[in-house]
Symmetry: C2
Subunit: 236 residues, 2 copies
DNA sequence: CGAATCTTTGAAAGACGTCAACATTGGTGG
DNA sequence: CCACCAATGTTGACGTCTTTCAAAGATTCG
């Protein structure tokens, strides 16, 4: 899917810019960012940054999916989010001057732009509109996190899996389109690491949901057939 | 503990200001905030703000503890954090222009200052040093949240309880002092709602930890006797 | 002092994880 | 293009952790 022609992409022309964190930039700023950034094609399974290392810049996804996870004390991955086109990764630890608390790894071949630290930080301090957008975005994200925390603490594995499927339907669906035929392409293990359960348990639930006609499986791929039913199973 | 004399407190004189979000303010800004704010004594169990309502300003705790929680779909409280002196509450939803995702309720009689929305927002836009401090603080908090999420998803109830006790030891201890005799004063239900478990399960673990000489109970109060042992029980 | 709230314990059921064995798939090199 | 290997997926059996329900005891606060 991603190939060399994408490497020429400039922020000014990027169809995702408006939706992204960089949507608040004016034309001039956008050009400056475009000049400073580079664009790379990553193979499936490559790591953008490792937990415990220091940020050197930010990543902006042009194509493909990236999993962001943290390793638990026993080495098990907990997937915090699945990032996709227009998502910007790796800036929070940069701003707070921490080591990365998480690892970012591509789930498929990806096209991803990289903006060096200093350029990003100048944007934060020099562009009031970008600063505001950033602040709002992060503050909103913290509210979302409270939600995730509560769900993780109070909902059963079955409920959490139903929620995860609905979330993934959005992530893997075309933005704006309400097509019901969304294929989720993740390993069972990754799915289990999103929900926070054992792979075997997840497979059993997959089987249950299939019997209840909530989903369909095509090989590894999962198709959400009945979002309303899933919402009910998740008690939403 | 809290009484009328605290109502006269001004930010310039506040012993907690340096450690708080407002530590980045210059003298002039500090005075302006002090003039704009009010200070109130709250009784135990009073609500500062309710989940689902719109922020009108921010709260800065001068004395006492406040629980911040979210209600799950079945009405159970999930305690996200226990806030104490120098903690600032209620600004994130204000910045992101969301409704409050959580409720803040006093756990004891508290003395708390209130700064109206517009004054706070002016600070954000007009004070670069405050803006930076805020941004850093929030970004750091998100990293902490990834950690909490992972622990909630992967650790057993027993391990999570051990972690919670260590966290509460800090919250209830005097800042800086390394005294080992810290009394945690929370109901069993609140403790359970921090850990994310049933009250009965928590009580049984309390019993276990007591037998293992990790803690001691004095009526409702809990005293951490062996932090290192707890850290081991939490697999940290 | 008494009602209300909070705490504790027991017993039983249920959810979930772990282990082991086996099936399937996808990718790689010959 | 095929064969093979490693990774991934699936199923069953079992044990354990955790929740739930019920009931009794202890505290606290008005």
């Amino acid at each position: 899917m991603p190939n060399k022609k994408y490497l020429d992409v400039r922020c000014e022309d990027c169809q995702f810019r408006r939706n992204s964190l960089f949507g608040a930039l004016c034309t001039e700023e956008s050009t400056r960012v475009s000049d400073a950034k580079s664009c790379t094609v990553y193979k499936k399974g490559q790591v953008l940054f490792h937990e415990g290392t220091r940020p050197l810049g930010v990543f902006c996804i042009y194509g493909g999916k990236v999993k962001v996870y943290k390793l638990g004390s026993d080495g098990k991955e907990q997937i915090i989010r699945i990032a996709r086109e227009s998502d910007v990764l790796g800036y929070k630890a940069m701003i707070s001057e921490d080591e990365y608390p998480v690892t970012a790894e591509t789930l498929e071949d990806c096209t991803i732009c990289f903006l060096p630290k200093s350029d990003f930080l100048h944007l934060v301090t020099d562009s009031p509109s970008f600063n505001k957008r950033l602040l709002q975005s992060i503050c909103h994200e913290l509210g979302v996190m409270s939600n995730k925390l509560t769900n993780l603490a109070q909902k059963s594995v079955r409920e959490r899996f139903a929620m995860a499927l609905l979330m993934l339907k959005d992530t893997y669906g075309i933005d704006g389109e309400e097509s019901e035929e969304v294929e989720i392409n993740l390993t069972r293990e990754d799915l289990a690491n999103i929900v926070g359960t054992a792979t075997e348990t997840l497979i059993r639930l997959l089987h249950d949901f299939k019997e209840e006609d909530l989903i369909e499986t095509r090989g590894r791929k999962i198709v959400v057939k009945n979002p309303r039913g899933l919402a009910k199973a998740a008690r939403l």
